[in-house]
């Protein structure tokens, strides 16, 4: 018996989400932005929900934000999944309501706090660059 190695469930890449999941290859986090009114749009969609423009393009954000909420997951949901780990929602600096679900890394789980300033970092897994966050 060998211990199974856990593998994350990864996103299925397509033309609408590839820019988000691969921008980490260049060290940037890119989100869709309206070229008319400047609204950041996440998850990506076909038009800007503010001004209805279809002129959308992927742009880099600063990668800075703060922890809006988090949970320390203690239970292993599958073979090989090591616990504990921190799941968090990070509120990006660019715009009110612009959020990402992510993991907080590079810090003891017990030190994670709501409001903590964080910066994006990337973990590559196959063709996906996962945007994770670490103290800024």
């Amino acid at each position: 018996m060998t211990t199974p190695t856990y593998q994350r469930t990864l996103p299925l890449l397509d033309d609408s989400n590839r820019f988000f999941w691969t921008s980490g290859a260049e060290g940037e986090l890119r989100l869709m932005r309206c070229q008319e009114c400047g609204h950041w749009l996440h998850p990506p969609g076909p038009l800007c929900p503010v001004c209805r423009s279809e002129r959308l393009a992927a742009e880099a954000v600063s990668g800075l934000g703060s922890i809006e909420t988090y949970t320390l997951n203690m239970r292993s949901w599958g073979p090989g999944l090591e616990v504990p780990y921190v799941v968090a929602i990070v509120h990006l600096d660019e715009q009110p309501g612009l959020r990402l679900t992510t993991n907080i890394v590079g810090i003891p789980a017990s030190d994670v706090r709501i409001g903590m300033r964080v910066r994006v970092t990337f973990e590559r897994d196959e063709d996906v660059w996962l945007p994770l966050f670490t103290p800024a």
Binding site: P4, T5, Y6, Q7, R8, T9, L10, P11, L12, D14, N17, H42, P43, E68, T69, Y70, T71, L72, N73, M74, R75, W77, G78, P79, G80, L81, Y85, V87, A88, I89, G97, R99, L100, T101, T102, N103, I114, V128, L130, L132
Partner: protein, 388 residues
Amino acid sequence: MDVVISGIGQSAVGRRLERSGLGLTVDATLEALADAGLEVPDIDGIATYPGFRPDMPAFSPVSSLDLKEALGFRLDWYSGGLEGPAQLGALINAYAAIKAGLARHVVCFRTVKEGTGGAAWKQSSLPSTERTRVSGEFQWILPFNAISATNWLSLYAQRHFHLYGTTREQMAQISLNARRNGALNPKALYREAITLDDYLSSRMISTPLCLFDCDTPSDASTVIILSSADAARDLKSTPVHIDSVGSAIHGKASWDQADMPSMAAFDAGRMLWSRTDWKPADVDVALLYDGFTFLTLTWLEAMGFCGVGESGAFVDGGARIARDGVLPLNPHGGQLAAGRTHGFGFVHEAVTQLRGLGGDRQVAGDVKLAAVGAGGGPIGGALLLARR
């Protein structure tokens, strides 16, 4: 055209039952028909949540057409689907169909085999050594190992704790209340009371939710028959009127993009009270979803039983939500004690209480108005039920 609940039925409820999903559904349907005094040829509609899900057979093993064929119904209208105001979407669809004149007597059912088959998303989205890829809204969550609904709700609960000072001791009261009431319900899965110490020392799943914050998967089918008030006039049961419904979703239709801890429940609650002359203070018994204890706190606020952020203080000590409190909550034990009948169990209990048939767990006094809320995150539906 007024719409009433004319009959209710429920199969055996268990962790593992030697009976198929369809078998359980037939059991519950026949009980509901007998309760109402209806015969198979009277039924002209079926509504179910969420319809057969081949990808999640434990979560939803039976389609509306499976039941039609099993009992030989002749239907003028039928409906099933996952999109809608949570589990109560089936009842709200049936309510609308009856009001539109498409049907007169609609069998609404929710059947689960999760006790035998494991929970839905846990089963279909579990990470494994076999790599899987995901699209749609869950692509933004699952890659970060936010795998269980426990994780998703923990994020809401933690934010609530942070903003409002809510504590685990307060949230525990939902669980303690459920177990206290479950002890009086012969069909409950858990019939032993627990103490605050039991709660606080139980295994943490995903902070701040521990084992006792989570309901238990079960095998069960619950049936609620909706009828036009005219057609129900001569039936043998005491009709329960659907006074108002809440099906609204105005906020983000997403598990992680909402202004936490707000949920669709608040939209449904506002709509519910905008369409009735009753007020929250008139409610005699509350049946509020407790798939996770935190969801019940949410529903207490969403239904206006307390202010936003005040649910922790409202349940503190447990007296207000006890069977003899100002707002008796989930007298059957909710899903935390009575098993995850997935939303429909709350409606079944509301009707039981409004008819005064709760036995040992019956709430004292003249119980004439019940509020029901079901769902969490981006799904939420509410009903206000009245005995006239």
